[in-house]
Amino acid sequence: MIIEIGHYALVLALATALILSVLPVIGARRGDAAMMALAPTGSLVLFALVTLSFGALTWAYVVSDFSVANVWENSHSLMPLIYKYSGVWGNHEGSMLLWLLILVFFSALVAVFGGNLPDTLRANVLAVQAWISTAFLLFILLTSNPFLRLDPAPAEGQDLNPVLQDFGLAVHPPLLYLGYVGFSVCFSFAVAALIEGRIDAAWARWVRPWTLAAWTFLTAGIAMGSYWAYYELGWGGWWFWDPVENASFMPWLAGTALLHSALVMEKREALKIWTVLLAIMTFSLSLLGTFLVRSGVLTSVHSFATDPTRGIFILCILAIFIGGAFVLFAWRAPMLKAGGIFAPISREGALVLNNLILTVATATVLTGTLYPLILETLTGEKISVGAPFFNMTFGLLMLPLLVAVPFGPVLAWKRGDLLGALQRLWVFAGLSLFAGLAFFYIQNGGPVLAIFGLALGFWGMIGALADLWYRGNFAKVGFSVGVKRLIGLPRSVFGTAIAHFGLGVTVLGIFAATTFGTETVVEMKQGASVDVGGYSLTYDGLRDAVGPNYTESRGHFAVSRGGVEVADVWSSKRLYTARRMPTTEAGILTFGLSQLYVSLGDAMEGGGMVVRIWWKPFILCIWGGALVMMAGGFVSLSDRRLRVGAPSRKAKPVKARLEAAE
């Protein structure tokens, strides 16, 4: 019964979304307040209905109701409870329902927090959100319905894919979707602005917090996914340039660009048309990502099942929304009044450079991801584009951006002084180079060019501190006054510094882990030892163990340093009984920011085991940096300006006051 209620709620949600797609737009055109007022209420109802539906599916998972086909295919009664919850989105249908839930969640947020928006804008934004909701509701109901029943009901489920039975599944998809789908709000704002044909700095101020929130969650989601792949797959890699990874990375890159261009628009009323275009592109990349992952054109852990009708359906959604938005853009954009102009050497100029590099880098990732698909469709030739391609193109193109990041915040708006910025920053640049050299010397080994990579990481970190140093004017006013001055600054300044610092940490981690990391593959018999990264590992044989829904052989290793045992680690091969599927569970030991990663291979004749051991120095910096970036996002989000939001009528005076505060 509960399942039927969930199903019915989803159908009602479709009806609600249809009404919501049409009436507020008409209301906004006619200036009918009652019709426009429908938008926020309707969005809340929509959210409630989809939540009810999602709750019904979750209930089916928790009580292991195998009469529901979706639950039967992806669950097992012996599965630990947390995986029953997270298993809801560990499959195609459920993950689309989560996608929808988050979409309508954002609509509801706009409805609740959008009180200070002009009525017409709010009505249009919520209507555009409802268009997207309608498309995905249709998609779920017509091609991916999670509420279909089985008759007779099987006694036991087929179990969730073992790779997905992990805490990572509980966290990674919701975070990723909060980011991915969060950009829908920016898209809706852009389309609404195009419909109204009016756009100003206030628009950018409304869009910024949504962009920031989506970006922050997407950062967390990507980092979480990367860490998950790292420890779960047992290959020791943290980024594979897999099309599915790229699918989430491209919206992140475009979203980062949007974050920065919206800043220019908010402060200087420039780059209006570009910002609108970027908002459309960012969500288009999110949709493209959904298409790539969900349509089955790619095979990966993310594409749970392949069904051609689904692929075509999503392709249609993609074409309608992206195509429609671009047509609207081409038609309406010339009507928008172009914004102010500015000198190339200025904060705006630096942000334009940021946008140029980020969009070009996004384009290269897009090319590398789509080229094999397009080539195969056109000529039937099958090629693979792997990590070397992306390192060569994306990696090289991003380098100038990493060099430029610390310059941005120290340049003034309107007319900056590059020479002055250089004068201010050269000490810090020297410091970074020195830190890179020292780091390289201490770690000892690897190509000399890596010094510059390491220095680049330090440059990001030190440059962020330099920004705060000059903001507080510590050199002139002394420490205590400097701190007071810092405290008086708006939080977004700290958000920027923290996020840029985090970027530096990640870059440092990437260069340190790739330069100084080692990989050892050895055959080990019981009692044999091997030295890795200054530690000595002694293999202590295999033990058998039984888990709730799997059996495993666990290899035990004693880890010692300088003859003293410091730790021990278990690494295992599991066999999940329901699916007869083996997995490798890597043993990971953390020493400070570095990790020792032990993965078991095959058993050899004579009782030995092939063991693969990686030494990953400073690898935690990669994800740690992302966490810092995320913290920067939240700090910036907590800025009073964004929280309060500036009502349109007061936009002018508020803006003047804010510029004074800068």
Partner: protein, 171 residues
């Protein structure tokens, strides 16, 4: 510089960055793209030793031999051709005889064997690499879903269940 010249300089700067990016992408494509082949194609195509390719097919039954340390050799077959492959490293969990596989590497000039430096792993027991599946289906050696279970998988325990219940595994 006048304002017009300044603007031109900025546009030229941006354009040249884009140009560099385009050239870089083209260069990288010419360098690092691996074409996909199956054993039968290799007779027709003339691939020089050292050229990176992807080789896909089924792992021939009874061909997997463990060598020194972590070296493994096996034969990749597609029913018509056979290619001996050596690989040094840990094989993916789901590597089995009779299962589909995609390896990446190059032919060795001396031994004429294929030396793989990566063997594609997948996360699902029903997995057949897409490239391989497309071809084998066309040639009728293998069928979707049913085939992967039937002829390849040692873990037959759940086969009946899969095919029995409205063919979900096939979808």
């Amino acid at each position: 510089m006048t304002r017009k010249q300044k603007r031109l300089a900025v546009i030229a700067g941006g354009m040249s960055f884009i140009l560099v990016a385009v050239l870089l992408v083209m260069f990288a494509f010419s360098q690092s793209v691996a074409y996909f082949f199956m054993p039968a194609d290799l007779a027709k195509a003339d691939i020089k030793p050292g050229t990176r390719i992807r080789l896909g097919g089924l792992v021939a039954e009874g061909s997997v031999k463990r060598g020194q340390g972590s070296t493994v050799s096996f034969t990749v077959t597609d029913g018509t051709g056979n290619v001996p492959v050596t690989y040094s490293g840990i094989l993916p969990d789901l590597f089995r005889e009779g299962q589909g596989v995609v390896t990446e590497g190059a032919f060795d000039a001396a031994s004429h064997g294929f030396v793989a430096d990566s063997v594609l792993a997948k996360h699902d027991e029903n997995y057949m690499p897409k490239e391989v599946a497309d071809r084998l289906k066309k040639e009728g050696v293998w069928e979707d879903g049913k085939g992967s279970k039937g002829q390849a998988n040692q873990g037959q325990a759940n086969q009946g269940q899969n095919t029995g219940a409205k063919g979900t595994a096939t979808r």
